[in-house]
């Protein structure tokens, strides 16, 4: 099991992601510079958070044309697993590898805080080790453009086919307007593509996967990934 973490100019959560995969999850991890054209035989590609290309034009809009994204697109097309967090999610949306777009938060503020999310499908790559009895996961967000949007027709398709991964909720797991930090439509915090091999989410599980950080809810996602991919 070999993970590749792509580093774009402006990525800043790459080392956190590598630390969790390598030190906490005990997996082999390589760094993939965005200018490279091959994925070094990785089995799993991660697009980390950050501010690739300074978020110029739109978050992720320029990074999706980095040379490595052709390889990532082909890899995903063939069924390879790709996981994007925060800016990585924005890049996946811009690359049309997952449906939807991420707009400015409705309050126009950069929000950095713990939020609660609830899995909407327990049978996916990133949720299969989360117990249904766990009412919510506490995971931090840190973004200015995390307001997920898609049109009604696409949302219906995504809901019907289990492509909604997480919704923002309160600590008790109630999905309410008050628990929605950024205005995301239907409280959506994470989604996947129709084939369920490409995943994106705004909250940062890699910032909640180490006992020293006093929160390990994010580790459940990495355990799900390792469980499914190494099975």
């Amino acid at each position: 099991m070999k993970f590749g973490v792509v580093i774009f100019p402006g990525s800043n959560c790459d080392q956190d992601m590598i630390y969790v995969l390598r030190n906490v999850m005990q997996q082999e991890v390589v760094e993939l510079w965005h200018k490279e054209a091959d994925l070094k035989k990785c089995d799993f590609i991660v697009l980390p958070g950050g501010f690739s290309y300074g978020d110029y034009l739109r978050s992720g809009a320029i990074a999706r044309f980095s040379p490595i994204m052709d390889a990532v697109g082909n890899f995903a097309e063939k069924g390879g697993y790709v996981f994007g967090v925060c800016n990585g999610f924005q890049i996946l949306c811009e690359a049309r590898l997952v449906p939807g777009a991420l707009m400015h938060n409705t309050e126009r503020k950069f929000i950095c805080k713990n939020v609660f999310i609830k899995p909407q499908n327990y049978d996916t790559l990133v949720t299969n080790q989360i117990s249904r009895s766990k009412v919510s996961l506490k995971i931090p967000i840190a973004h200015g453009e995390g307001n997920y949007f898609n049109d009604a027709e696409s949302l219906k398709k995504m809901n019907d086919s289990g492509q909604i991964l997480f919704r923002y909720c309160d600590e008790q797991g109630n999905i309410t307007p008050e628990s929605n930090p950024n205005g995301a439509i239907e409280n959506i915090a994470g989604v996947c593509n129709a084939k369920k091999n490409v995943f994106g989410m705004m909250p940062h599980p890699e910032r909640a996967a180490d006992t020293e950080l006093n929160n390990t809810d994010g580790k459940l996602l990495f355990q799900s990934i390792v469980n499914l991919v190494t099975a």
Partner: protein, 83 residues
């Protein structure tokens, strides 16, 4: 021949534009409450080498479709001028 494109990329009309909304509200403080529905987008200019205006238009349209706008949340319009 060089042409100049003046491109506007705007949030889709059906979508809330929080920035525009905040500016609309501030108009009231300026005693300009007649002003409503401020919408804020991006204005992009670029210079393009092309055989004629039609060819320039095709290229600019391609740039808008591929990179300059995201159709899920924005629309665009542009004009081409001889530079």
């Amino acid at each position: 021949m060089k042409f100049r494109a003046e491109i506007n990329v705007m949030p889709l009309k059906a979508l809330l534009d929080p920035q525009g909304k905040a500016v609309t509200n501030s108009m009231k403080n300026l005693s300009l409450s007649e002003i409503e529905n401020v919408r804020i987008g991006k204005h992009i200019t670029l210079v393009i080498e092309a055989g004629n205006k039609e060819m320039a238009k095709t290229k600019v349209d391609e740039a808008c479709k591929k990179l300059l706008h995201n159709p899920i949340m924005e629309y665009y319009e542009f004009e081409i001028f001889e530079n």
